[in-house]
Amino acid sequence: MLTTHLLDVLYFIAALSFVIGLKMLSHPDSARRGNILAAIGMGLAVLGTLFFHPSASNDVVEDDRMLKLMLLYSALAIGGFIGWRAAYKVKMTSMPQMVSLFNGLGGGCAALLAVAEMKLQYAGVHGHPEAAGLILVLFTLFFGSVSLTGSLLAFAKLEDLVKDSAITLPRHTIFNLGLLAIILGLIGYTTWGAGDAGMTWGLILFGVALVYGFSFVAPIGGADMPVVISVLNSCTGLTAAAAGIIYDNLIMLVGGILVGASGSILTVLMCKAMNRSLANVLIGSFGGGGTSAAAGGGDQTIREISLTDTAVLLNYSSSVVIVPGYGLAVAQAQKICKELDSLLEANGVDVKYAIHPVAGRMPGHMNVLMAEADVPYTKLFDLEEANDALKKADVAIIIGANDVVNPAALDDPGSPIYGMPVLEVWESKTVIVMKRSMKAGYAGIENPLFFHAKTKMLFGDAKDTLQKLVAEVKAL
């Protein structure tokens, strides 16, 4: 008896650590400690459950007890080992995919436990299922499955493993609504109509929910994946909370609800950063069009600039603003970019970085990547500050960014990104765009900036070009 009381205390401490940890995570100075605090709380909750949960002493037969403990410890060891390795081996650029993958696995965990729980309920271990209990299990099953397959697809999209068009059906929204209706019907029938056959129907629900998760994410463009991951994240949070109600387990309930609520807010904040509504992201498929943008006129010419000219231009300006994009990160060119920055600074050039809120693949992703290259925090300017700085800048140099500097977002109502705040690089005296080719950006939209009178193009791989540029500047 006393051990369950001890477990209550551990759960309470864990719940506090989640709340305080989340709070600390939202300030740059305390974020790391907040994460560690929440991790410690989690450790207490899991270990406490292993040793003190009443269900741990279910089995009177020693062999059965040992079998389960063996299963548990080996599962914890396998999951812990792979999770740790994966987290430390993944490149910083692939961080968003990793978060999506872990989120999906959390959903998968919930879905599997719901199936097992459903079987236990029908087997009568806790008596025949009651409607109230069963519906929670089905709810967990549904959201867990959606989170699993949805996150896996989001992962695949961010890894560029699938093409959006290849998995989108005509009238996909209607197809999804149909699936959703079937799912609701299945939940209702399993709970109230199916009687003892409910287990079979529950498994069918499992299957349909897995398809729905995939289908829900399928038509959403790759550029919107961060929002989708955030939605699925809060979805998994709700699943954990529902599972918490099933087991009358307060730590799962509190942890799940916290993530569900904060995840929803985070989703809204991200949408705001892109100036779009959540409905627009989830339903309006993005990135297919770009029909009207840059369709006008054949007089569009681009001007190229040589490496030497670029070096001279940069070296003799008084202020330079660098706009890093995903292309820079993919080429692993952050460090060499920082080297160029140091060289210019040594020659008295004022160098700043303009970071768009959705630069990279996720809000804040680019800040992480630049911090990795030891660029001081104070040199990273956010959207508004950067736009002020750009007005006074001699040169804006864009490295592997595209959609976040697209003027069509401001002046072309036909553009899919119309209304998104962008970095107004054309306000500076000269714009240099460093790019591999004339290919459209991640969102698949033409960029009129490349044809702008102030713009000069410097083609080539970001890392390679930057290296040559550094050499040129050194030689001056």
Binding site: F18, L25, P28, A31, R32, G34, N35, A39, M42, A45, V46, L50, S55, D59, K68, L72, L76, G79, I82, G83, A86, A87, P96, F102, L105, G106, G108, C109, A110, L112, L113, A116, K119, L120, A123, N233, G237, T239, A240, A243, M252, L253, G255, I257, L258, V259, A261, S262, S264, I265, L266, L269, A273, M362, G364, N367, V368, A371, V375, D382
Partner: protein, 103 residues
């Protein structure tokens, strides 16, 4: 109506807890700078790994001769652990970057 009121009465504390947790979740992160969106999402992602606790309970509850349920529980615990350990570790790696330049 009667049933609903009874339900509310019987689960009053739970309902309070739900409501306050939601408000707390919203309040705790409502003024977060964009820089921290990614680490915060990743941290929250690790926290919902608390569903692992449920997977452990399911494994304990499964009859010892029910290999189907034991197998499900086993895989669920692996998934949950991956979510928790990987989630916190990845978040720590991201935040490590912010730490360095503070010196």
């Amino acid at each position: 109506m009667e049933a609903l009121l009874t339900f509310i009465h019987e689960n009053l504390l739970l309902i309070y807890l739900l409501a306050f947790s939601i408000l707390l979740g919203i309040e705790v992160i409502s003024k977060v700078p964009a820089v921290l969106h990614t680490p915060l999402m990743s941290g929250a992602n690790a926290i919902h790994g608390v569903v692992l606790v449920g997977a452990v309970i399911v494994l304990f509850n499964a009859p010892a001769d029910d290999y189907f349920s034991l197998g499900l529980g086993f895989v669920a615990v692996i998934f949950g652990t991956l979510n928790v350990v990987g989630g916190f570790a990845v978040t720590d790696r991201m935040l490590e970057m912010f730490k360095k330049k503070k010196k």
